[in-house]
């Protein structure tokens, strides 16, 4: 059993803006998004200038870089990993698969993206404090960095959400 204390989320979120430790979590992607994640972390893009650093344990992480449509096989491990993060938990969902399952959105062996996983996390009492979705197949490194800055509240969102209802006939 682990003892967990309460935390001032607003204060922690302010501190995270200057120091962002990321953990890469693959829930069963085709690996193209993962290669782009590695690309974004290379010296070429120099994300360390924003205080971003890759860590090897979810216990150290502030942000999870989430790829893949969540396969049934990976589900328990994914829930366990996100649960292992100390709060505040921020998640950057990457690629079409992460967002809505991509081309595997309705297959028997996947959950169909982070939205469905969020419900399971809620049922297990795992709270996620902020989520940003970055589309693409695969997602571009520049988009990953932009999504990260959006997640931290350092830039404004450019696109607006528009809900469209399909009419019959």
């Amino acid at each position: 059993m682990l003892e967990v204390s309460s935390v001032n989320i607003a204060k922690a979120l302010r501190a995270i803006k200057k120091s962002v430790w990321v953990y890469h979590l693959n829930s069963g992607s085709c690996n193209a998004c993962d290669i782009e994640v590695l690309d974004a972390l290379t010296p070429y893009f120099d994300v360390e200038r924003f205080g971003i650093k890759l860590v090897g344990s979810p216990r150290h992480a502030d942000v999870i870089l989430f790829t893949g449509p969540v396969t049934r096989e990976s589900l328990p491990k994914v829930v366990k990993t996100i649960k292992a993060m100390p709060r505040p938990r921020l998640i950057l969902v990457l690629g079409s698969c992460g967002i809505g399952g991509g081309i595997w959105w309705d297959t028997y062996s996947t959950l169909g993206g982070f939205k469905k996983l969020e419900e399971i996390l809620r049922e297990n009492g795992v709270e996620v404090d902020r989520v940003v979705y970055v589309p693409g197949c695969p997602v571009r490194p520049e988009a990953i960095i932009y999504g990260m800055l959006l997640l931290l509240g350092l830039v404004e969102q450019k696109s607006k959400r528009v809900e469209v209802v399909a009419s019959e006939g």
Partner: protein, 284 residues
């Protein structure tokens, strides 16, 4: 005494800034911009705002982490105290206390690692143990020799070289960072730490670098023959310079193979120690 305390406090506060400078210089060598100089301070302050997740082992575990930090603060305080009159004039008690404290730091890190219910952490603990065995004895012998003030210029120079190499190893830099490794090895001794506990461990790792740089600076300044406030000031100024040299060395060794690094260390320290014994034996 008052000046030594002031120097120790100043250096403890500046150590994370030196670490930030190290990251900035490493970035410059990689031709990238790199993080702000205060980045290590930002990291530490952030960790203290995060949720406390106490790993299996509870209070006992927290105590070991805090004791490790205290032992590091005490060992750097002893170094600054010795700096105020030069390494060659250190008393036996001070020298032994310093050696014991550095061994205590490594032992506590191992105890912390193996007491966790995580196999990666236990593996990290054993890696820490093998590093301790390979560097600590050489560090202890060279430090005691220099502190005794005995020997000729040649033997003192060789002892300083042994001290410089072994203190680089205890600083936990590449390629001798295998205890807590980097993400590609799935992390190590700190794998279960989160929030403020990880913050304490981060301060400890920065202080290890400070002790390592101060130790080499102290050995080098003792050649100039300064004493009193001028010796202390010289050590405080020389510490970031040694830190800079460590930075450049670690960046150059960034892609060296871990197994070769350990073998190279054994050969180098064996060669230097043989030269040291010879120079003492022949009275050179």
């Amino acid at each position: 005494m008052l000046y030594s305390v002031a120097a120790a406090v100043l250096s403890l506060a500046l150590a994370p800034v030196y670490d930030g400078l190290e990251r900035k210089i490493r970035a410059a060598i990689h031709t990238r911009i790199g993080p702000p100089i205060l980045q290590t301070w930002y990291d530490i302050l952030k960790l203290f705002t995060k949720e406390i997740v106490v790993p299996v082992g509870g209070a006992w575990y927290t105590l070991v982490t805090a004791l490790e930090l205290l032992a590091l603060i005490a060992s750097s305080a002893i170094l600054y105290h010795i700096s105020s009159y030069g390494l060659g004039h250190a008393t036996l008690l001070e020298s032994v206390a310093f050696i014991v404290l550095t061994s205590v730091v490594a032992t506590l890190a191992i105890v912390r690692a193996v007491s966790q219910n995580n196999v990666f952490s236990v593996v990290g603990g054993f890696r820490e143990f093998s590093l301790m065995l390979s560097a600590e004895p050489f560090l202890a012998v060279s430090f005691l020799l220099l502190a005794s003030g005995a020997g000729s210029l040649a033997s003192k120079s060789i002892a300083t070289a042994v001290l410089a190499v072994s203190s680089y190893v205890i600083s936990g830099r590449v390629p001798y960072d295998i205890a807590e490794a980097e993400p590609e090895l799935a992390s190590g001794v700190n794998i279960e730490l989160a929030g403020p506990l990880l913050g304490l461990a981060t301060i400890s790792s920065v202080l290890k670098k400070l002790v390592s740089a101060t130790l080499t600076a102290l050995a080098l300044i003792s050649f100039v023959g300064l004493s009193g406030l001028s010796s202390l000031t010289a050590v405080v100024i020389a510490t970031p310079v040694v830190w800079l040299v460590h930075t450049v060395v670690s960046t150059i060794l960034g892609r060296s193979r871990v197994d070769l690094a350990i073998r190279f260390l054994y050969v180098l320290l064996f060669f230097l120690s043989s030269a040291l014994v010879l120079s003492f034996g022949l009275g050179l």
